[in-house]
């Protein structure tokens, strides 16, 4: 066996931060012999996770070859591996993997992992993995290949996220995991968790499932793991490990098939099967039941080699690494954070639902006094009451301690007088979407506050510049556009009006970070980014419906976009009147390319909440009386025509937005839609998708991204 055949792979990929395999001989107590302990370490601090690239795997494999020879000579009685603090290994080096541009090289990469990992199970002496921290993807599979595993109760980030990223756990994980924890739990780890916001396990949960045989606390995890290994080697653990494994892995053919079927249903519900990877994971799991490990390995390598070349994989890496991990954390165009001023008290104008949600968010995350105002005491009481009730709910669910609940409750007060804003550093308005009302509010607030106090607006459609126009200090005004529900949606559109100064903008970005929101800088254009794109999409779907396309076809035509919710269902959730209002303001701003549906206005007039209504048998239909309210044309479109038309509309609108400079780059559009509308990562954001399907070329004569 030799790792020389992989040198071409190492030579082709860009420079890799190598994670080394350092070996130390540890004499074990009780005559258990000498254990060779491999530490996977890239010699960098904990901000730079250890990863697996070709050079890393070749070094690891060669290290194991050497240890196998030492085992044969009788020099060592066991091999164990662990990682530098906080990491076993964080997984494959994605920037390396994404640069593998041929199926041949992809297959080599897949085979390299198998060849190295298989050695762990074939050293001639028992092998152990001490999972001291993050173990994701290939980082967990390396542990699964060992004969025994311990895990630290302080570890977090344990999982197989490949299905999320567009790959499969194809370094043996898909074969070995169900044999340790049973097929149903394997589906949970390989499918459900990755497709649920890429969730992962902590050490205690991983032990509970059977991913590890023993659980130790972090304070002396390495020491206790080594002593446990010694007991295993001398038979001191008896059959305890075997018995526990047998119980946790218990399954039969029916359970296996059932787990696969449940997984497929989950994937359909979550992704509309818009991406290939999750189904491939389940295919491998299904086939693996009757395959040997070697046979499964061959299938895994084929799947990996193919998937590495799919657009979905590259799109997800782009969306996950380049957008969410990088651009999302360092917003393009944000001024130097050193310019920011401290915010020690926040005012919220309005005490409605949005205003109350904002008050709760500011109090909870910034831990500064927040004062709400409204026009009468009843509204104020209702707003403050809402916040206090939400705090009580969090207390009940143990998401807040009693002390933290007391503190947060005390931070939120209300008043009918804006005088309470006098010592605030930041006042945000969330009053009725009417320019004159907002201008008046700002004028009243400005009369009370200091010259430096920032005035923010949560408007979703009005001009921030006009709102600021008549103020003494228009430079203090900034747009701060949240998404509903405020606590859950990560996006914040920070709107720079022409006169907004850098200090104000810097403070807004620092504040957004304090609120744990991902801020994107947008210019002061109607509806900013998310609502404008959603509005254009709604316009197309309601238009084809009004023209005569049936609801089923119109509402499901966008399935390939993998949206979290169909357009009509989303409209019903937002509320038809709100949707209609936004659509009308977009129509006013941009004209006929934003269709305003007369039929929808009729539904609103009749008090209909949404197109679809649930029937007694649980299915959804559009009731006849709803259809009877509307006047529709007789020119239906096919689903394909609707999809095509919407793609073109989106390409057109995004092209215009970039020309207008609403955001700095198409990446910001993608980021906004992923974080503000929950659009899927496997498309890699909307702009690469529109490039791939040819819409940008059709409409604009160019692509958003260079190939």
């Amino acid at each position: 066996m030799s790792f020389e055949r992989y040198d071409e792979l190492a030579a082709l990929v860009p420079p890799e931060i190598v994670t080394h395999s350092y070996v130390q001989d540890i004499p074990l107590p009780d005559g258990a012999g000498v254990l060779a302990l491999i530490t996977l370490d890239n010699d960098l601090d904990h901000t730079k996770p250890t990863t697996l690239g070709p050079r890393t795997l070749i070094e690891f494999g060669r290290t194991l070859e050497g240890l196998k020879e030492r085992a044969a000579r009788g020099e060592i009685s066991a091999v164990a591996l662990t990682g530098k603090p906080y990491f076993l290994v964080a997984g494959a080096d994605l920037s390396t993997v994404k640069s593998v541009r041929s199926e041949h090289l992809g297959r080599l990469m897949a085979e390299l992992g198998h060849e190295a990992y298989d050695l762990l199970a074939d050293l001639g002496v028992p092998s152990f993995a001490f999972i001291n921290g993050v173990a994701l993807g290939g980082g967990l599979e390396i542990a699964l290949a060992a004969n025994y595993r311990t895990v630290s109760s302080g570890a977090s980030g344990i999982g197989l996220p490949e299905a999320f990223i567009g790959l499969v756990p194809g370094w043996g994980g898909v074969y070995r995991l169900p044999r340790l924890i049973g097929p149903a739990n394997a589906v949970k780890v390989m499918i459900e968790n990755p497709l649920s916001n890429n969730r992962s396990l902590d050490g205690t949960a991983a032990y509970g499932l059977g991913i590890a045989d023993a659980l130790f606390e972090p304070a002396d995890f390495i020491e206790q793991s080594l002593l446990w290994a010694a007991r295993v080697l001398t038979g001191g653990e008896g059959d305890a490990v075997g018995q526990r494994r047998a119980e946790l892995a218990r399954s039969d053919d029916d359970a296996w098939a059932g787990a696969v079927a449940a997984g497929r249903a989950f994937v359909e519900a979550k992704t509309s099967n818009a991406a290939p990877a999750p189904a491939r994971v389940l295919d491998l799991l299904e086939a693996g039941l009757t395959l040997s490990q070697k046979e499964s390995a061959a299938a895994e390598c084929t799947a990996l080699a193919e998937l590495m070349q799919t657009p979905a994989f590259h799109a997800t890496v782009y969306a996950f690494l380049d957008l969410v991990q990088k651009r999302g954390k360092r917003p393009a165009g944000a001024p130097d954070r050193k310019l920011a001023r401290p915010v020690t008290k926040v005012g919220v104008v309005g005490a409605g639902l949005m205003a109350s949600q904002l008050a709760l968010l500011f109090a909870r995350q910034l831990k500064v006094p927040v004062v709400l105002t409204d026009i009468d005491q009843a509204r104020v009481d209702k707003g403050v009451g809402y916040v206090h009730a939400e705090i009580d709910r969090m207390l009940d669910r143990k998401r807040l301690s009693q002390d933290a609940a007391n503190r947060t409750r005390a931070l939120v007060t209300g008043s009918v007088s804006k005088d309470v804003f006098a010592d605030a550093d930041f006042v945000i308005e969330a009053v009725f979407e009417e320019l004159s009302v907002k201008k008046q509010v700002f004028a009243e607030v400005e009369a009370v506050v200091s010259a430096e106090c920032i005035l923010a607006t949560n408007t979703s459609s009005l001009s921030v510049a006009e709102m600021a126009a008549d103020l003494v200090h228009p430079e203090r005004v900034v747009g701060f556009h949240f998404f509903n529900p405020v606590a859950a949606m990560p996006l914040l559109e920070v709107v720079r009006a022409p006169r907004t100064d850098d200090t104000v903008l810097a403070t807004a970005f620092v504040l957004a970070k304090g609120l744990k929101k991902n801020a994107v800088l947008v210019q002061d254009a109607p509806a900013f980014v998310v609502n404008r794109i959603l509005g254009r999409m709604f316009g197309e779907i309601t238009a084809v419906f009004d023209e005569g396309t049936d609801a089923e076809t119109a509402d499901n035509a966008l399935r390939p976009l993998g949206l979290p919710m169909t357009p009509f269902r989303l409209l019903a959730l937002v509320g038809l009147p709100v949707g209609q209002h936004v659509q009308e303001s977009l129509h006013v701003a941009f004209g006929d390319r934003f269709h305003v549906s007369a039929n929808q206005q009729k539904l609103i007039g009749a008090g209909v909440k949404g197109l679809w209504e649930k029937q007694e048998d649980g299915t959804e239909t559009v009731p006849a009386q709803t259809l009877a309210l509307m006047e529709r044309g007789s020119a239906p479109s096919t689903a394909e025509e609707v999809l095509h038309r919407t793609q073109d509309a989106l390409a057109d609108e995004i092209g215009r937005m970039l020309d207008e400079g609403v955001v700095a780059a198409p990446e910001d559009i993608d980021l906004c839609m992923i974080m503000g509308a929950g659009w899927p990562m496997h498309l890699g954001g909307i702009t690469p998708y529109l490039d791939r399907v040819g819409a940008s070329e059709r409409v604009l004569g160019r692509t958003f991204h260079q190939a």
Partner: protein, 419 residues
């Protein structure tokens, strides 16, 4: 949210006349000792982590002790800043995973830190304030070089309260050679070589290893390793080897790196209990505290401190020096041990003294050493039930001595006619 409270202590009322309660040494452990400095086994490690490993191992070794029954955690350190600061007894208790209801504090009496942690908490047990305590010490002399950050009062010098030279322990050892001309460099070196030999023999016999807590350490570029033995010992050292060493404290002096303890990193921890609590909780009794005493001497000859401390402790216990069957005396310097032996008329090679060798061989991480002496005395009690009384004693910077006298529970007359 409810605060967890420990089980109420047994049978005490505040108004009734008090009886002093017996205090027993249940168990003690330590980390292997390391050499201070960049190449030492604990370079880059934190002192508090070393203590935490000891506390956790103590609890693992005594599974019948519910952790919430620990009434206090006293940890000594000479330099109480950085990783040895922040009230290290409390931080170590929290980091070790003891319930938050268990309090802790920090203690300092320089080299006798851990010994003072033991005597202080033992007094609390005798008084009835505690049932069970953890007492120990730590010194990471690599992270905290001796005297770092000290700011001696200028009055020491201007009013001749302490000779500034006496703040350097090596100087005080040279002063002791001056006072006792009979203690030559050759005697000191011979004693030091014996210390190395006795430790090597104790390792060979497996007397040291049972009370060591393995400590994992990780160095840049080499990965995790496991430290299971002391780093300082130099078995095979000869008198000839030592003869050629420099005398850093005085030209043509007598004190060398070979006949003194080194600069070391390490931690210790012991479990003490009232005799009643030990019985109630099924904890082993390995020694019974008989008496303890501290005494002051001239700072310039601090090494003589164990002599008056021992006389005082013997007086309290109603014992004679001849009643003491085993001595664990800390070997800060060979001359200091020899001055003690000469005073009490004990031979340099008396088999009752430091059977496992001493700090000259194993090292002396200042505030941790007191409990090491106790661990070793407890082992020797087990090995030698003929011995009824033993002593742990040490000298202390700025001119002090500390002595603790213990009774062997394995002795046939244990508990009878208690001293």
């Amino acid at each position: 949210m409810s605060l967890q409270t420990g089980t109420p202590s047994t049978g005490r009322t505040s108004r009734a006349a008090r009886a002093v309660r017996d205090v027993v040494f249940v168990d003690g452990v330590r980390t292997p000792f390391g050499k201070a400095g960049d190449k030492g086994i604990y370079a880059g490690m934190r002192a508090d982590d070393l203590v935490v490993k000891c506390i956790r191992d103590l609890l693992r070794r005594n599974p019948s002790l519910p952790p919430e029954r620990v009434d206090d955690v006293a940890i000594a350190a000479t330099t109480q800043t950085g990783d040895q600061g922040l009230t290290i007894g409390r931080t170590a208790a929290l980091l070790a995973g003891l319930p938050r209801t268990v309090p802790g504090f920090a203690i300092d009496r320089m080299c006798a830190g851990a010994m003072t942690a033991v005597t202080t908490t033992a007094s609390g047990i005798a008084f009835g304030a505690y049932d069970v305590v953890i007492a120990g010490g730590v010194e990471h002399m690599g992270n905290h070089p001796m005297g770092a950050g000290a700011d001696p009062n200028p009055r020491f010098q201007s009013e001749r309260i302490v000779d500034p030279a006496a703040l350097n322990m090596g100087n005080t050892a040279e002063n002791l050679h001056d006072r006792f001309p009979a203690i030559t460099k050759e005697r000191a070196d011979t004693y030091a070589v014996r210390s190395q030999q006795k430790l090597a023999a104790a390792y060979e016999a497996g007397s040291i290893q049972p009370d060591l807590v393995p400590v994992a350490g990780r160095k840049a570029g080499s990965g995790w390793t496991l430290n299971t033995v002391d780093e300082p010992p130099r078995p095979g050292t000869t008198v000839e080897d030592l003869a050629s060493l420099r005398t850093p404290f005085r030209a043509h002096g007598r004190v060398t790196a070979g006949n003194a303890a080194g600069l070391n990193d390490g931690a210790t921890a012991a479990l003490l209990a009232s005799a009643d609590a030990a019985e109630e909780l099924g904890l082993p009794v390995r020694m019974r505290l008989v008496a303890y005493a501290f005494a002051g001497v001239e700072p310039e000859v601090m090494g003589i401190g164990p002599v008056p401390a021992t006389e005082k402790a013997l007086r309290q216990a109603g014992l004679e020096i001849g009643d003491i069957g085993l001595f664990e005396i800390n070997e800060a310097f060979a001359v200091q041990v020899l001055s003690f032996l000469d005073h009490f008329g004990i031979d340099d090679e008396d088999p009752r003294v430091n059977r496992y060798g001493g700090a000259i061989a194993v090292g002396h991480p200042l505030a941790s050493s007191g409990v090491r002496l106790m661990n070793q005395l407890a082992r020797q009690f087990e090995e030698d039930p003929e011995v009824r009384y033993g002593m742990t004693t040490m000298c202390i910077g700025l001119g002090m001595g500390a002595t603790v006298i213990w009774e062997n529970p394995h002795h046939e007359h244990y508990g009878q006619d208690a001293a």
